[in-house]
Amino acid sequence: MFYREAGQFKTSYAADQALLPIRQDRIGLGLILLVAFVAVPLLASDFFIGSIMIPFLVFTLAAVGLNILTGYAGQLSLGTGAFMGVGAYACYKLTTYFPDINILFMVLLSGIFSAAVGVVFGLPSLRIKGLYLAITTLAAQFFLEWCFIRIGWLYNYNDSGAIEVPQRKLFDIAITGASASPTVRYLVIVSLVALMTLVAANVLRGRIGRSWMMIRDMDIAAELMGVRPLYAKLSAFAFSSYYCGVAGALMVFFWIGSAEAEAFDINHSLLVLFMVIIGGMGSLLGCFMGAAFIWILPIAIRAVPQMLGLDVIAATTEHVSNIIIGVLIIFFLIVEPHGLARLWQIGKEKLRTWPFPYSSN
């Protein structure tokens, strides 16, 4: 009834190809941005911003990265964590070499290192497909993890073997380090994520994004249409790893504040993969939904016994949340393999025709 595009005529292809061709969607997005940029920083508590919104956005960005590779270009990867690590360590090295250059620039630059590493480990994709490729990404995961531990240069030979975030300022406000307030860090992250999501959406709807989807859907046909698999696959690896790398740098510099190699282990990779599956492969919106779901659900589960006043061992809720997430993953794969994003779309279609369920084509 209210969600219907009747009467919204498009008179040019430009309008028809806009990211959000329907007015209600544009209004919705505007509201969300308003909440994200105004309401949350003004109203939310430090815990909500620091432990829910910031991780959620960092994971969203990583999920966007993985989704580009897996959901759009069809190359399953289990090495997301390691690529995030490359970004984080690169950013750390860059800030130690160039302490005076703005940290935001460094974060964006560190993604390029991650992209380069991604290309190297993407090379096997030219010969290897599907599950075999998924397993070779494990080689990237474990090899890079080992590098983070073994190459002392990466963490400046710290005794602690970990990378620590120095304090950096933007317009005289601390944006990294312990004294940077969650709200400031949040604003930095939310701006970056919004910007990078827009960039991803643009690339995905253009020539390059189409070539990835062609490779994904039918690589042979894509090649016969003139897509060079070398370019298409490696550019997908590079672009995806760039996002993962930036997410990794954000994770360390704007969220946790320090990191050991273990922060980027295989479980981290799997966590991002879950987000992509639950959110929906091949959907940017899904990245947000999946990240929110996987990150917030355990926190919510943890909060439930407290709200009910039950004394449950913290570990038990941890096990229970493991089980619930596992069951949900299976459930989604069975019921809706395209994830939350698809459910949302179905919901929208229902809304469009409501209250006349049979009036659509």
């Binding site: 620091g50 504040g257 909060a303 913290a314 570990a315 919901g347």
Partner: protein, 433 residues
């Protein structure tokens, strides 16, 4: 109802619940407990968490808290994961938390810079940053009763007293992570000054239960002694492998995280003779532990699986952690004259701690550990450890307290602290005396 509505609702609820300022009842002392009862290291985390909680509960039951104020212990599961650890911290820091014991090097490193900002001290008991022993550089971090470096120096001292280290080859097998690598700089330094040779054997976190290569290398290198910086499943595997290559176990010394009952129960009789460092008493034969049994465990208020678990190495370690915090609270109460203290008061209390043998006896823990006396500069206290040996079914204390080689360790600690602080222009240090 669409999914987004659901998510929005859920988020809204969460937001609402976390937006409402926590009405902290001002009649109790809030002590968060970061635990890891899950994950690959759960074997170590569980008894520690039990000992920690049981001691505070015992104080509540027996004495009605500390100076009449009850203690609230709030567990938060970290699964040894830094992200979850930080989340636990953020979730509890505004509830009036007095001190954090992060129980993982990764989480400690993440929290150390936050402590001065939020004014809540970090008590990483014998783990985390060794450099934090330098209290003038790390006002908010404590590593009582000893840092890793002090411990290593004591172990080397023990070796020296039992046959000498000069001209010997000492093997160092360690978990290939920040934790395991930390003592290496000191080990290299001591090797130079004391004239022994070092062979290093890293064990990857994913290879903890697959150590045959490392031990083949040990067989190749033929060290005279072995020192282990291990954790979790790495320990029993290492001891079994050592036995397999017939390495004399009474020349194999684990650090204080490689010498728990869990570790050796998995090895059993085959582990007889294995040595480990420790700083907390073994067994239930302390009045305080008897009180824990009577007031908490026998009343069914503990999470331990059986009464026998009370008194095992890691249980007592967790309990000792609680003892120091409780003592810190007492000192802070005395210093400020307040019943309800803040994190900043707690910091002063921890710094003013003085656990002498007499005080330990008062607490019902005679001979439980060495003296722990803090000061503005010294955040590691005494630094003494003792060596224990596995007799096939339990641990036995076989040495007196071994103080660290402060003359070597202290300058290095200070140097490390200086290095840590040097690239942090706005670091909050304190000037002592």
């Amino acid at each position: 109802m669409t999914t987004r509505t659901l998510i929005t609702l859920a988020a809204g609820m969460l937001a609402a619940s976390s937006w409402i300022p926590v009405a902290q009842a001002q009649d109790s002392l809030y002590v968060p407990s970061m635990t890891y009862r899950t994950g690959p290291f759960a074997g170590g985390g569980t008894p520690f968490a039990d000992g920690y909680a049981d001691y505070f509960n015992m104080l509540n039951e027996r004495d009605g808290g500390i100076n009449g104020v009850r203690i609230v212990v709030d567990e938060c599961e970290t699964a040894y994961n830094a992200q979850k650890g930080v989340e636990c911290y953020e979730a509890t820091k505004d509830k009036g938390a007095l001190a954090y014991s992060p129980l993982s090097t990764g989480i400690t490193l993440a929290l150390v810079p936050k402590a001065p900002v939020d004014e809540i001290p970090i008590f990483s008991m014998g783990y985390g940053l060794s450099a934090a022993a330098a209290g003038d550089k790390f006002p908010w971090t404590f590593v009582y009763p000893a840092s890793y470096w002090s411990q290593l120096s004591s172990i080397i001292k023990y070796i020296d007293e039992n046959g000498g280290v000069e001209g010997q080859k000492i093997g160092f097998i360690y978990l290939d992570a920040a934790y395991g690598k930390e003592p290496i700089p000191l080990l290299d330094q001591l090797a130079e000054t004391m004239g022994f040779e070092v062979a290093k054997f890293p064990v990857g976190v994913k290879e903890m239960q697959n150590q045959s290569s490392q031990w083949l290398n040990v067989r190749k290198e033929r060290p005279d002694w072995m020192i282990m910086w291990g954790w979790g499943a790495m320990n029993p595997t290492a001891i079994k492998e050592a036995a397999k290559i017939r390495f004399p176990l009474d020349r194999f010394i684990g650090n204080w995280w490689a010498g728990s009952n869990n570790d050796l129960n998995a090895v059993g009789e085959a582990g007889k003779g294995y040595l480990a460092a420790n700083f907390s008493g073994i067994g239930q034969d302390f009045p305080a532990l008897q009180d824990v049994l009577t007031h908490v465990v026998k009343k069914g208020m503990s999470k331990v699986a059986s009464e026998d678990d009370v008194g095992n190495v890691l249980y007592n370690r967790g309990l000792f952690n609680a003892v120091i915090l409780a003592e810190g609270i007492r000192v802070a109460q005395d210093m400020t004259g307040k019943k309800i203290i803040t994190g900043a008061d707690m910091r002063d209390g921890l710094e003013g701690i003085n656990l002498t043998e007499a005080r330990l006896t008062e607490l019902g823990l005679p001979g439980f550990t060495g003296e722990v006396k803090g000061s503005c500069e010294d955040h590691e206290g005494g630094g003494s450890i003792f060596i224990q040996q596995w007799n096939g079914s339990n641990w036995e204390k076989i040495s007196d307290l071994i103080p660290p080689m402060s003359d070597v360790v202290r300058p290095m600690l200070e140097e490390a602290a200086e290095a840590y602080v040097s690239d942090k222009p706005n670091w909050q240090a304190q000037t002592c005396g």
